[in-house]
Symmetry: C2
Subunit: 350 residues, 2 copies
């Protein structure tokens, strides 16, 4: 693959869907989770630069670069809440993986779908270390675009097969249930968040409101539960009542970023949290007590995108599910860029 | 154009060459220079974030974002001096232009060729304000990949028609001369930099050595000359003897960046320089005296790439010289990303 130096493999949205379907969503999520776990375990190798954000009144455009010294990846991602009014997505993304040794891009790929997959895979990886043993019942509060990916990731990695769904919009719940039909879940539609959490071992909150919200109040969260808080992921956007946080052991991806974007923006800046990478490396404990409330305060981090780019890149040779993009000028003579232009003129005239 | 929301127009290397040839190199450079001048004139509107660099032993990968509040652009560019050993380019680049209002990319394009064009156009724009009147003779020291673009930009914008070429490698000079044949230049090959500068009104230095070099010594630069120093463009890489700088009025793109990357890294941090945007807006003077030595200390800035992206984007509708890239997942229902996957499975099975 990629013997022509001008070519960068490109995975379009169509090819990404074919790739996910070819591999199977469950297997894709399981294997991707393996890449994420591997990269979290070698956390210290990574260049963890903050994301570079360009804010405007309508939203934000961010570049999220990272590197492990051998590979370099970045994601372009926007967030524009008003986009749905014009039939556009609130969030779209694409990304690039490059070789640090030559600086040459090795992959350009859509990342809207891929981000949904990596977010779910990361939640499930965290839950492997944090959820109570034999947890098989999960409440999903918020049944939008991320909900099905969460359900399938938890089924693939933890064996979750009972879902309790709730959304303020019953149509979203109906959509989620329909999309998950025939995939081995026992699904209960609920009329409130309170009803959804009854008997759940894991509570996933993945709502979209861009404000301080209280999807869960303190009385709703019993001992022994694992909370997977996915929706609160930017400054000013949270989902859980502060009192829940105070009763929980809190696990994060990258502390400096989560302090700004996660549920813990409600807490003092020195409130103790544990980084997931420590748990995976064995330098910190995950769940130690069946009565403990564990909270994964998910915001999404560049290394997860890096893992996803790496995983997709590794699937290309076997599946052929990419196009060849003529992205890099590669003159026969490196110092003769202008001559390349002249030769193109001759070729066009011939 | 671009009515399908999933599509981003893509200009490949092949399409970029066709676009440049279709428009004509001289006209392309002239019109691009107009866009650069326009953007420099509204300099204060831009979000001027520093480039985000990821350094390694082999080189650097950089992201250069900027925005004027309506459009957002970034360039990915690498610099790997050892690449030529494996038949690769030292520098390759690509870029994206996006709509700030929606965060949606509007253009993905190769930028290796485009960067060569914008660098030359910027030099010529600067020279319009700084070179002596009726300058028609230019020395080009360093006859590599950038040299022909500089020559044609100075012909297009200033009427330069006499070239005095010198390179330590005579093969590079022969290549440059051959590439410029039939384009209306009177060309003299020179055996030394000293010989090249004789009688030249403009001296362009565009050598590639990545070290402190002295391409020009003080005695070689007579009064009234305009220096266009293009090659010194990163920390530790300069081309001019320090004494020349002390005799020159120095003009830069963005002072904080040029202090680190330009010829003026040899001077004290408070040595007076003038930003080009001030000259274009009329808040500072360009050349005021025929005996003055002016120096454009070119390092390349994100706003020039932004202008280039804007210019290319504006050529697409009329020329059709782009491909449609299926880059953005755009489900019929914004909250139903997973359903889009299921529908793709059905479509594939059908």
């Amino acid at each position: 693959m990629n013997t022509k130096l001008n070519i960068v493999p490109f995975v379009s949205v169509d090819r990404m869907m074919k790739l996910v379907l070819h591999i199977g969503v469950e297997r894709f999520l399981t294997e991707l989770a393996g890449y994420i776990e591997e990269d979290f375990s070698r956390w210290d190798l990574f260049d963890k630069t903050p994301r570079v954000a360009s804010h405007s009144v309508d939203g934000v455009i961010e570049l999220m670069p990272t590197s492990d010294g051998k590979l370099y990846g970045f994601k372009y991602v926007n967030g524009h809440p008003e986009n749905t009014r014009s039939g556009r997505q609130t969030v779209t993304a694409f990304g690039v993986l490059a070789d640090v040794g030559s600086g040459y891009p090795m992959l350009l790929t859509e990342m809207t779908i891929l981000t949904a997959l990596r977010t779910a895979a990361t939640s499930a990886v965290a839950a492997k270390y944090l959820a109570p043993k034999n947890a098989n019942c999960m409440a999903i509060i918020g049944n939008g675009a991320q909900s099905e990916f969460q359900a399938i990731a938890f089924k693939a990695l933890l064996g979750v097969n009972k879902l309790r769904l709730y959304d303020i919009d019953p149509a979203a719940t109906a959509k989620c249930r329909a999309n998950l039909a025939g995939q081995g879940f026992e699904i209960v539609d609920c009329r409130s968040a309170q009803e959804a959490v009854e008997g759940a071992h894991i509570i996933t909150t993945v709502t979209a409101d861009k404000k301080y919200a209280t999807i869960l109040t303190d009385n709703m969260v019993g001992s022994g539960v694992h909370l997977n808080a996915v929706g609160g992921d930017c400054p000013g956007k949270t989902e859980l009542h502060r009192d829940i946080l105070l009763r929980s052991d809190i696990f994060v991806e990258f502390t400096p970023q989560t302090r700004i974007e996660g549920e813990i923006q409600q807490l003092d800046g020195d409130h103790p949290v544990v980084e997931l990478c420590e748990v995976m490396r064995g330098t910190a404990s995950g769940r130690t007590d069946p009565r403990q409330i564990t909270l994964f305060d998910s915001v999404g981090f560049a290394i997860e995108d890096f893992s996803a780019l790496r995983y997709v890149r590794d699937q290309l040779a076997a599946t052929g599910l990419y196009e060849e993009l003529d992205l890099l000028a590669d003159p026969d003579e490196p110092r003769d860029l202008f001559g390349m232009l002249l030769r193109a003129a001759k070729a066009n005239a011939a």
